[in-house]
């Protein structure tokens, strides 16, 4: 069987929803409908051995998702305090063309890694975008619920709800979401004093997926670098591929598990060394589960009421005892 999940088998896998999302208008309504999909977590496998760096995927992403890109009506407002808040404006015609990093207008880029491993030189192209984490801190801790997860595991930032505070970017281990100032809900609230635009990132073509179609970057790739399917199947394939090619895996354990698994012939620490990193150009280091420490407190939250009940019972037993003693005393 071909290692690529073809469009037909993708559909056959039962991953189609009613396909109503696109038809039913834009904004919140369609997002909600898409979120009603089956709870099969989708995962992608990227075989870095195959990527030739042609950037067809980058072009397709920009084309297919162009209608989701921000369209500011004029320059962003002056943010206060001026020395503290940086605006990010990628909307000029020149900046919109940037494709060598993540921007609000470029949700996928090819990161090049050149170096030497075991005495042999290598040159690898790594498609980089949101990892769609299983327990995504960006969505778990978004204070407005703007970053949210669909039942199929896709993590999306809703542009009508996002305030652009960039908390998601701060807590994302790869600092993926990118800000465009001068758009979004905050302009209708306190534009200068709270919020700062909208955060943008790969949404795994959630609308196409809801219709049972492949994400654009996967569909157009001439080398079939990526495949998508239920997570357990993709994990198995990634392990098989790594076993067959003596390859290395990234994204399986990172941040407690993601829905993006890379298999590379070169270890990821070597790749990470070879990368050009910085704003819009994420690292490839091992990543601890960001939510793990916070989630340990759930136990404390669960037993806290029991502790309160025991405390109150103890106190009133004592009071009752004292009252009883008083009553027993002959007056």
């Amino acid at each position: 069987m071909s290692s690529l999940i073809s469009r037909r088998s993708f559909l056959k896998a039962g991953l189609i929803t009613a396909g109503t999302a696109a038809a039913a208008g834009t904004g919140l309504a369609s997002a909600i409908r898409a979120a009603d999909g089956p709870k099969t977590e989708l995962c992608t496998l990227l075989d870095l051995n195959k990527c030739i760096g042609c950037e067809e995927c980058v072009r397709a992403c920009r084309e297919i998702n162009g209608h989701k890109f921000p369209e500011p009506e004029g320059p962003p407002p002056i943010m206060r305090p001026v020395e503290r808040v940086k605006t990010a404006d990628w909307s000029s015609p020149e900046k919109r063309t940037v494709t060598d990093r993540l921007t609000p207008y470029n949700w996928l880029f090819i990161q090049r890694a050149r170096g030497e491993y075991q005495g042999q030189s290598f040159e690898l192209n790594i498609p980089r975008r949101c990892m769609h984490c299983h327990n995504a801190p960006c969505s778990k801790l978004c204070p407005f619920g703007a970053a949210y997860q669909l039942r199929n595991g896709i993590v999306r930032i809703h542009p009508d709800v996002c305030m652009g505070g960039a908390k998601c970017k701060t807590i994302c281990p790869w600092n993926i979401p990118e800000r465009q100032s001068g758009v979004g809900l905050h302009l209708d609230l306190l534009p200068q004093y709270a919020g700062n635009g909208v955060m943008y990132k790969c949404d795994r073509c959630y609308d196409r997926v809801a219709e049972g179609r492949l994400p654009a970057c996967i569909e157009v790739c001439p080398e079939s670098v990526q495949e998508i399917g239920p997570r357990n199947e993709i994990v198995q394939k990634a392990r098989d591929l790594a076993g067959k090619t003596s390859g290395f895996i990234y994204g399986l354990e990172e941040n407690g598990g993601t829905h993006t698994i890379y298999v590379s012939p070169v270890p990821f620490d070597v790749l990470n060394q070879a990368l050009r990193k910085g704003p819009g150009r994420p690292q490839l280091q091992p990543v601890e589960n960001v939510m793990a420490d916070a989630n340990r407190w759930i136990g404390a939250l669960a037993i806290a009421p029991a502790a309160g009940v025991i405390g109150a019972l103890a106190r009133f037993k004592q009071t009752a005892g004292q009252t009883q003693k008083k009553e027993d005393k002959p007056s």
Binding site: L28, A31, R151, G165, K167, A194, A294, I298, A300, A304
Partner: protein, 154 residues
């Protein structure tokens, strides 16, 4: 522990946990760095969202324990003819709902738990607005010296 000591301890715990819960609650929004709060000596940690959420959970756990403590106490006190005052009842409902929505948000943060978007937005909005309502109510009642309890007249 004597009853008056228990009262003082629970009141002290309540005030401290409330202060921490509100501080870290607002700190869940990216505001403190913007508005220099994290520059204050001793407040640098508030810039770290992950520490912030853990401290919020700690305060939440103390408040949940106190809520259970006061509910059981109230059952005992009813027997002694004490009732919740009108403002006490309103405060109890608002605080109870704020705690429950907070708990629902903590559950949502667990791995594998996914709330649909409308529920997620509703929970965020409700938790935030209930907490702010409670803050205003509690401050108002403190200023007006409105008690939580009253003696049953009948």
């Amino acid at each position: 522990m004597k009853p008056h000591q228990a009262n003082r301890l629970s009141e002290w715990l309540y005030l401290a946990a409330m202060a921490v819960a509100f501080f870290t609650g607002f700190g869940n929004m990216p505001l403190y760095q913007r508005y220099y709060v994290t520059d204050l000596p001793g407040f640098g940690w508030a810039a770290n969202f992950m520490i912030n959420v853990e401290v919020h959970y700690m305060a939440g756990a103390v408040l949940l324990a106190l809520a259970a403590y006061f509910i059981v106490s109230w059952i005992f006190l009813r027997k002694e003819g004490l009732r919740l005052s009108q403002t006490g009842r309103i405060r109890a409902i608002v605080l109870g709902l704020a705690l429950l929505t907070g708990l629902a948000m903590a559950v949502k943060n667990l791995s594998g738990v996914v709330y649909p978007l409308p529920l997620l937005i509703a929970m965020n909005f409700l938790h935030m607005s209930l907490a702010v309502c409670y803050l205003l109510l509690a401050l108002g009642c403190r200023i007006a010296r409105a008690p939580w309890l009253r003696k049953n007249q009948r």
